[in-house]
C-alpha cells in the first residue's frame, strides 16, 4: 500500500517545483527556467540576483506556503465536519483575522503588529465558533457549520462598519488586505516550516482520520479516541489558517477547491490527501499569483480575486450536485 501513496506525491512535488520555477521566471523581466536554477545556486548577474532572490523567490515561496496551509486546513476541516463543503473561510476564521488586521491598520499600526493582530483575531474567532457550537449540548457538524457561517456574517458586518468609518487614505491598504495579496508577505520560512511540521504530525493520524470520516460512533467503536482527535484537528486547522491569513490576507476557496479536486483524483485516504493538499494547494496559489502579476501588468491583481473566481463556481457546482 505504501508505493501507491508515494507515486502521486512525487508527481505533485515535481509539479510544485516546476510551477515555482515558472513563477520566479515570469514577470516584467523574464528569466529562463535554467537561469532561475543557476541564480539560486549563486550565479548570474547582480540584477538577476536581486530580481530572483530578493523580489520574486520570497513572494513565490510565500504563495506556496499560503496555498499549502489553506488546502491542508480545508482538508482537515472537511474530515472534522464530515462535509466536503467545509472550509476554514466558511467557518468564520478569516473574518476574525480580517477584523484583527483592520483594527491594527485603523490604529495606524503597520508591519508585524498587523500580522499579530490578524493572528489573534483568527484564534479568537476559532474559540468563539467552537465554544458556541459546543454549547450545552452535543457538538454536531451541522451546528458547527451554522455557527461558523453566522459568526462569519457577524465579522462581515464589523468589517463593513470599519471600512465605513476609516479615513480615506487608509482604505486602499485595507481593501487589498481583505482581497488577499501575497505581496504583503514578509518571510515565507516560518509558514513553510509549519506546513512541513504539520504534514509530519498528521501522517500518523491519517488512518484515524479515515476512520473518523465514517462518523464518530463508528470511529469510537474502532478504537479511536474521538474527542481528543477532533480537538487536535480543529486546533491544527485553525493554526494553519491563522498563519496563512496572517501572511497573505483573506484568500478564499483554496481550502475548498484543492481537497475536493484531489479527492476526485486520488480517493479518500487522508494519508495521501493531506500531503497531496500541501503540494497542490501551494501549486495552485503559486500559479494564481503568477497570473495575478501578469494579467494587467504592470498593475497587479490581488491573488484572492483569482482564487475566488475559481472557487465560487466550484462551490456552487458542488452544492448543486450534492443531495
Amino acid at each position: 500500500m505504501s508505493r501507491p501513496l508515494l507515486k502521486p506525491l512525487l508527481v505533485l512535488a515535481f509539479v510544485s517545483l516546476a510551477s515555482m520555477v515558472l513563477s520566479v521566471g515570469t514577470g516584467s523581466v523574464s528569466v529562463a527556467p535554467g537561469q532561475v536554477l543557476a541564480v539560486i545556486l549563486g550565479e548570474g548577474s547582480n540584477l538577476q540576483q536581486t530580481l530572483v532572490l530578493e523580489l520574486r523567490l520570497p513572494r513565490t515561496l510565500s504563495a506556496f506556503a499560503t496555498g499549502g496551509l489553506l488546502a491542508v486546513a480545508g482538508a482537515l476541516m472537511q474530515v472534522l465536519l464530515r462535509n466536503p463543503l467545509a472550509d476554514p473561510y466558511v467557518l468564520g476564521l478569516s473574518g476574525g483575522a480580517a477584523v484583527g488586521a483592520l483594527l491594527a491598520m485603523l490604529a495606524g499600526l503597520g508591519g508585524f503588529l498587523v500580522s499579530g493582530s490578524a493572528f489573534a483575531g483568527a484564534l479568537l474567532s476559532t474559540l468563539m465558533v467552537f465554544g458556541l457550537a459546543h454549547g450545552t449540548g452535543s457538538w454536531t457538524p451541522s451546528r458547527l457549520l451554522l455557527t461558523g457561517v453566522v459568526v462569519a456574517a457577524g465579522w462581515g458586518a464589523v468589517i463593513t462598519l470599519m471600512l465605513a468609518i476609516s479615513p480615506t487614505q487608509r482604505l486602499p491598504g485595507m481593501l487589498y488586505w481583505l482581497m488577499g495579496d501575497v505581496s504583503y508577505a514578509r518571510t515565507p520560512w516560518p509558514a513553510l516550516g509549519l506546513l512541513a511540521l504539520v504534514c509530519l504530525l498528521v501522517a500518523p493520524l491519517g488512518r484515524s482520520l479515515n476512520v473518523l470520516a465514517r462518523g464518530p460512533m463508528q470511529a469510537a467503536a474502532l478504537g479511536v479516541a474521538v474527542r481528543p482527535l477532533e480537538w487536535t484537528i480543529y486546533i491544527l486547522a485553525s493554526l494553519l489558517t491563522a498563519t496563512a491569513v496572517t501572511m497573505a490576507g483573506s484568500i478564499g476557496f483554496v481550502g475548498l477547491v484543492v481537497p475536493h479536486m484531489l479527492r476526485l483524483l486520488l480517493g479518500n485516504d487522508q494519508r495521501l490527501i493531506l500531503p497531496a493538499c500541501a503540494f497542490a494547494g501551494g501549486t495552485l496559489l503559486v500559479l494564481a499569483d503568477t497570473l495575478a502579476r501578469i494579467v494587467i501588468a504592470p498593475e497587479q491583481l490581488p491573488v484572492g480575486v483569482i482564487t475566488a473566481l475559481l472557487g465560487v463556481p466550484t462551490f456552487l457546482y458542488l452544492l448543486y450536485r450534492s443531495r
Binding site: M1, S2, L5, Q78, V79, R82, P84, A203, P204, L205, R207, S208, N210, V211, A213, R214, G215, M217, Q218, A220, A221, L222, G223, V224, A225, R263, G267, N268, D269, R271
Partner: protein, 264 residues
C-alpha cells in the same frame, strides 16, 4: 510490529448495569454473563433501550450505574484501542461521510490492530477479502458503498466487523434489510463464529430468528423491566405477548416454536 496476539477468550459481564436513557427512571439492573460460544438475542419493542444497551456494552455510552467487566478487568479502565480489539459493534444506522469503496470500508476494521505508522499489509487485505467473501459481497469490492442497496451495505458492515475480528461481536439488528436467504446465511455465519469461540450478542426484531439461532435471550420491556436466560425458558408465548403487547399464535417448525402475530 505491534500486532498483538489474539486475546484470550474472556467472558463479558455486566454487573448491576443500568443503562442511561434520559428522562426515564432506572431500569432493572442487568447481571449478564456473555460467555464465549454463546449467541445472545435481545428482544423488546421499539424504544425499550436495546440499542442503548448495545452502545453501553460497547463502551460508547456511560451507564447510569453499574459496570462492565471483560474477564476480571473493568472495561472503563481499558484503552479504547485495546477494547476494540476485543469488542466490535455493527451499528443499526450508518452515515456515509466521504465516498469509500467496499474493500476500503472493510479494511477500516483493521484499524485497532495497526500501529499509527503501519500501513495495511497484504495479510490485512486478504483478511478483508475473506470477510467480504463470507458475506457474499466480494464481487462488489471496488464499488462505492453509497451505490449499494440496503442489504448489501448491511453485509459490508458485518464484513467490516469480521475483519475487525474482535472476540465479542455486538450487532444491532444484523438481519435488517436482508432478504430471506441472506438472513439465514448471516445467522449461520454467526453460529459458526460462536462455535469458533466468539461471543455473539445482538438485538433482533424477528422473534423467530431468535428462537431458531439464539441460545440465550434477554427480554427488555418498555417500562425498564428485564429478564434473561436460556432461550427455551424465555421464548414462551405469555412472555412474548406481554413483551410486544400483541397476541401470538404458536406453531412448531423443525421441532422449534414459531410465533405468528394474530390479527386484530
Amino acid at each position: 510490529m505491534v500486532m498483538s496476539k489474539r486475546p484470550i477468550m474472556q467472558t463479558l459481564r455486566t454487573r448491576e448495569l443500568v443503562i442511561d436513557i434520559p428522562g426515564r427512571p432506572d431500569g432493572y439492573p442487568l447481571d449478564l454473563n456473555i460467555e464465549p460460544g454463546q449467541i445472545w438475542g435481545v428482544l423488546g419493542p421499539n424504544g425499550a433501550g436495546k440499542t442503548t444497551l448495545l452502545h453501553t456494552i460497547a463502551g460508547l455510552r456511560a451507564p447510569r450505574s453499574g459496570s462492565l467487566l471483560l474477564g476480571e478487568q473493568s472495561t472503563a479502565a481499558m484503552k479504547r484501542r485495546v477494547l476494540s480489539q476485543q469488542l466490535g459493534l455493527v451499528f443499526q444506522d450508518r452515515q456515509d461521510g466521504f465516498p469509500a469503496t467496499v474493500l476500503e470500508t472493510a479494511l477500516i476494521g483493521r484499524h485497532p490492530w495497526l500501529s499509527p505508522w503501519q500501513m495495511e499489509s497484504a495479510d490485512d487485505v486478504a483478511m478483508a477479502e475473506r470477510a467480504l467473501e463470507a458475506l457474499d459481497v466480494l464481487h462488489l469490492k471496488d464499488r462505492l458503498v453509497s451505490t449499494l442497496s440496503g442489504g448489501e451495505r448491511q453485509r459490508v458492515a458485518i464484513a467490516t466487523l469480521m475483519t475487525q475480528a474482535p472476540h465479542t461481536w455486538l450487532l444491532d439488528e444484523p438481519t435488517n434489510h436482508l432478504d430471506l436467504h441472506h438472513q439465514v446465511a448471516v445467522m449461520n455465519l454467526l453460529t459458526e463464529r460462536a462455535k469458533a469461540g466468539n461471543a455473539i450478542f445482538m438485538c433482533l426484531h424477528d422473534v423467530n430468528l431468535a428462537a431458531r439461532w439464539c441460545d440465550n435471550i434477554l427480554l427488555m420491556y418498555p417500562d425498564g423491566e428485564a429478564c434473561w436466560g436460556p432461550a427455551e425458558h424465555m421464548l414462551v408465548p405469555n412472555a412474548l405477548e406481554r413483551l410486544y403487547n400483541q397476541s401470538l399464535a404458536t406453531v412448531e417448525v423443525d421441532g422449534a416454536p414459531f410465533f405468528v402475530p394474530k390479527r386484530g
